[in-house]
Amino acid sequence: MRRRVAGRPVAHSFSDLYSSYTIFYLLLLSTVIVIINIFNVEFYTVVPCIPCSRLALIGKIIHPQQVMHSFMHASMGMVMAWCAAVITKGRYSFLVVPCTGTQSLDSPSAQTCFNEYHLFFLLAGAFIGYSYSLLYFINNMNYLPFPIIQQYKFLRFRRSLFLLVKHSCMESLFLVRNFCIMYYFLGYIPKAWISTAMDLRKDTQLHPLDTVSGLLNLSLLYHVWLCGVFLLTTWYISWMLFKIYATEAHVFPVQPPFAEESDECLPQVLNSNPPLIIKYLALQDLMLLSQYSPSRRQEIFSLSQPGGHPHNWTAISRECLNLLNDMTQKLILYQEAAATNGRVISSFPTEPTKLNSPEEITFQTPKSSQMTRTSVPPVAKSSLFSSKLSTPDIASPLGAPFGSGVINRMAGIFDVNTCYSSPQSPQLIRRGPRLWTSASDQHLTEFSNPSPSTSVSAVSKTVGQPSVIYSWIQNKREQIKNFLSKRVLIMYFFSKHPEASIQAVFSDAQMHIWALEGLSHLVAASFTEDRFGVVQTTLPAILTTLLTLQEAVDKYFKLPHASSKPPRISGSLVDTSYKTLRFAFRASLKTAIYRITTTFGEHLNAVQASAEHQKRLQQFLEFKD
């Protein structure tokens, strides 16, 4: 279908549609489109890559993969321009033309002259192709934004078609202008090269094109512009179709109809580590099913047939909570890095050294666990606690006795609360060592995860060997930094743009937004639809996670630059929604908490939480937040 879209307008304008040449050109054009599509498929991303400094932007452009992309696009552009030039059959179609003014000389070698128009056409095609590739990366056009509402594919395509054509017309105009300027200054190089290499002579009758009067050839400019519009439109259409098909909602079954298909069902996909696009689609599907599909919600709330475990709900809620806890950690780390503003190094070594020794923690008593907890900052403390709650080891042994028998919801909540909220209860002490191991392991992995604030992660990685060499390296690094920061040019390239680094923190926030929406809709629906009370076992953990995240977000948005909006470009083909994802994240977090509190109302007082969270919940219940 894509090929036809590309080929049809051209094909219609010709009478000799079925001549072998035309079919050859059309085949060539469709090959180009196929190659462009291969590049689209290879280079797409669901998490936008946001360069934080100018150096990073330059590094992004000269990355070998990107250079290859640009080179291929330039050559594809040249091929398309050649096809367009040949198909027009005018004076632009061949590189070698019989000379116009030199018939009298009669020498056979003088019969052929060099056609500069053709070269101009080809170079324009290459230039437009290269600029397309450059803009593709600078504008993050390889980022796949998911639509804010679900629509049928045809409607989405039709809606964006007008914008697409308008955008390509305008862009082609700008690119042709830029190309003319470039050709005016540098055009003599390829011209001289080609004419000497092919031993062609210049046609003296025609104006050379790298002069002002030569470039003011309106017919040529019009044709080049048209060729650019054709090129950009076809490429953008294939890009658009790829985007529409890739971001279309996909339905993952909650329960596999056959045992061997269990890898494709929603809980498995969420808990494994598939390619990011699959994970995004799964979370989108979770969000949609939690809103629109009562029957699939029922499958999530159901118990497994032999055994009676709420496996589906456990798996889904665990993954969502893990995602949200990761976000909390990320925000806290970033905020501490920003708050200490360079004093990061002094504050961190004390903390991870304790976390760094899993052997000790394995055998620790509750007393030592309290020691560990005192060392972490207050917000991290509660999130550490909640991440512990969401680990699989705890959820299943707790779920087993309640899920198997017919028990009432109250008992479930009460029991879970007592054992969750008071760490001194015998149940927890018995399981204590295992719990703390898993919790600290998770915390460790979060620490060693590559976090966006590279300085922090680098510090926490190297912190393991507190030695003389290490401090010496640190000192040297500081000295070099101080030395370099005085050089203006270097600062120009290295200085981090605050807005960009904030955007980078929230670059994958779409995932978390869906996790929030899916989770909150499921919890709200469970009020009436959950017959076995499976959601209630995790309700305290969910509330704790959400409130901790809310605290972290509140603190984060008090940082400078965080709550200022970047300017919006409306009505453009280029999607810039990733720049404001942090506001969407904040809004959906608040909405998610309100959704749960308004549904459960006064019942939330029975859910045990820390006094701080209890107070916060009360504020949400009274709509005072």
Binding site: I148, Q151, T580, T598, K624
Partner: protein, 510 residues
């Protein structure tokens, strides 16, 4: 079908409606003195009186700084550039055509010709869709759901002109969307903040070319999307407010959208147009069904709480129609699934009622309708009719029942103070003792009229065990079993005889 002949006579002149109890509207002499027993047991609602003095129009209407500077006559081309940036091509043509002796004669002639052509073309457009020839203020007055719209904001913003609609975001305490002349303003007002006049930095501006004036806003009940509509723009915009992205939902027939109404369950959206057609969008895949109404445009509509029934009225007809949307069990995506035809459920045409004071006339066309969130009361604000109560808009109250079959029964007429015209009616979104109707009067008063009955929305707040032991309630408890209008003999207030805690204390069963 329900007609006005069955209505109880309106209260005598000078009486105001205070509350509904026992299926009767109780009246009193004034709002300030409700009966004493209501002070203790029932809720005591304040009567808001918005004095118009602090809201007077400011001395300087233009909030820009332009008036502070001495006017300086610039070159005509410079002026043109400025105007082109502010107003567009139309303004440039106007400027050139009206400039004297500064441009060449032929430029001036050409621009006046172009202007004439443009006006002719827009008048042609206007003759296709007559509402487009209205000024934007008139357009707002025509299509707004308020009888007489004079809103003076105390939230001030440079762009906040000609406010046509306000909408609080659901599941949020602080976000207010305001439909203005040229844009939508999203105010974020901290509920704990003490400042009475938030700065314009709290407002976020959403604008889309061609989408002015905005006359209707609708938040999704889940709070994540905002719809906006303009009578000029054929497309409804779906906004993701936080990222400021919008998706237009185009529909080229009908010429604009005047009013949007989201069903309470969030599954459908009613979009009325200035022509004799309205559409119902389904809110998952965003497909729509159109309903060519009989005569005239759809004036107002309201959804039942489960989103399966739509009541609407048509301009120029004293009738209430009902349209049912049978629930689709097959998880049908992208299908609205409405019934094939609408049925008439109420006839509001003028009737004469016999009262002790003599004959009284009642009826006319409906102006707006609201249905309470539990689906048991329907309030209809009528258009002012010179034959009825000296042209005062009347509020009619109906009792409704949605399942198993739809029923609409008359309940009474709500009357305000003499000389006060009702301008806007709305129901409280979660009032657990029944329904709470708020009425804005033309005198600047906002009164709350509680309608006490047992609300099906909040059964969970009643003690589960206590329900069985409760003495048979005369009023609310038997509402579902007894036919409406059955008189109960209890003269004392039934809440006095309750042994347990008063019903005002909601109990959880946990």
């Amino acid at each position: 079908m329900c007609s006005l002949g069955l209505f109880p006579p309106p209260p005598p002149m000078g009486q105001v409606t205070l509350y509904e109890h026992n299926n009767e509207l109780v009246t009193g002499n004034s709002y300030e003195t409700p009966p004493p027993d209501f002070r203790g047991q029932w809720i005591n609602l304040p009567v808001l009186h918005l004095a118009k003095d602090p809201l007077k129009t400011p001395g300087r209407l233009d909030h820009g700084t332009r008036t502070a500077f001495i006017h300086h006559r610039e070159q005509v081309w410079k002026r043109c550039i400025n105007i082109w940036r502010d107003v567009g091509l139309f303004g440039v043509l106007n400027e050139i055509a009206s400039s004297e002796e500064e441009v060449f004669e032929w430029v001036k002639t050409a621009s006046s010709w172009a202007l004439a052509l443009y006006r002719w073309a827009s008048s042609l457009h206007g003759s296709l869709f007559p509402h487009l020839s209205l000024r934007s203020e008139d357009m707002i007055a025509e299509f707004a759901q308020v009888t007489n719209c004079t809103i003076v904001p105390s939230l001030k913003h440079r762009l906040q002109r000609n406010v046509a609609a306000l909408a609080w975001k659901p599941l949020s305490a602080s976000v207010l969307a305001v439909a203005c002349q040229s844009c939508i303003l999203i105010w974020t007002l901290d509920p704990t903040s003490l400042s009475t006049r938030p700065s314009s930095g709290c407002a976020q501006v959403l604008s889309h070319p061609g989408h002015t004036p905005v006359t209707s806003l609708a938040w999704a009940p889940s709070g994540d999307r905002l719809l906006s509509a303009s009578p000029v723009d054929a497309a409804i915009l779906v906004w993701d407010v936080a990222t400021e992205t919008c998706v237009p939902l185009p529909w080229f027939r009908g010429g604009g959208v005047t009013n949007l109404l989201w069903s309470p369950d969030g599954s459908k959206v009613l979009a009325t147009t200035p022509s004799a057609v309205f559409r119902v969008w389904e809110a998952q895949m965003w497909t729509c069904e159109r309903w060519p109404t009989l005569s005239g445009r759809c004036q107002t509509g309201c959804w039942s709480p489960d989103g399966n029934r739509l009541l609407f009225t048509v301009l120029g007809e004293p009738l209430i129609y009902s349209l049912s949307f049978p629930e689709s069990f097959g998880e049908g995506k992208g299908c609205v699934g409405g019934a094939k035809s609408a049925t008439i459920v109420a006839d509001l045409s003028e009737t004469v009622l016999q009262t002790p004071d003599g004959e009284k006339r009642l009826g006319g066309e409906a102006h707006s309708m609201v249905w309470d969130p539990s689906g048991e009361r329907l309030a209809v604000l009528m258009k002012g009719n010179p034959q009825v109560q000296d042209g005062k808009p009347v509020i009619l109250l109906f009792c409704t029942r949605n399942s198993p079959v739809f029923e609409l029964l008359p309940c009474g007429v709500i009357q305000g103070e003499p000389g006060a015209h009702a301008q806007l009616i709305t129901f409280h979104p979660s009032f657990n003792k029944g329904a709470l109707l708020s009425v804005c009067w033309s005198t600047g008063k906002v009164t709350h009229i509680p309608l006490y009955f047992v609300n099906a929305l909040f059964p969970r707040f009643r003690p589960v065990l206590g329900l069985a032991q409760e003495p048979p309630l005369g009023s609310g408890g038997s509402l579902h079993d007894l036919p409406l209008f059955t008189e109960t003999s209890s003269t004392s207030a039934p809440w006095d005889s309750l042994p347990g805690p008063p019903p005002t204390q909601p109990h959880s069963h946990l």
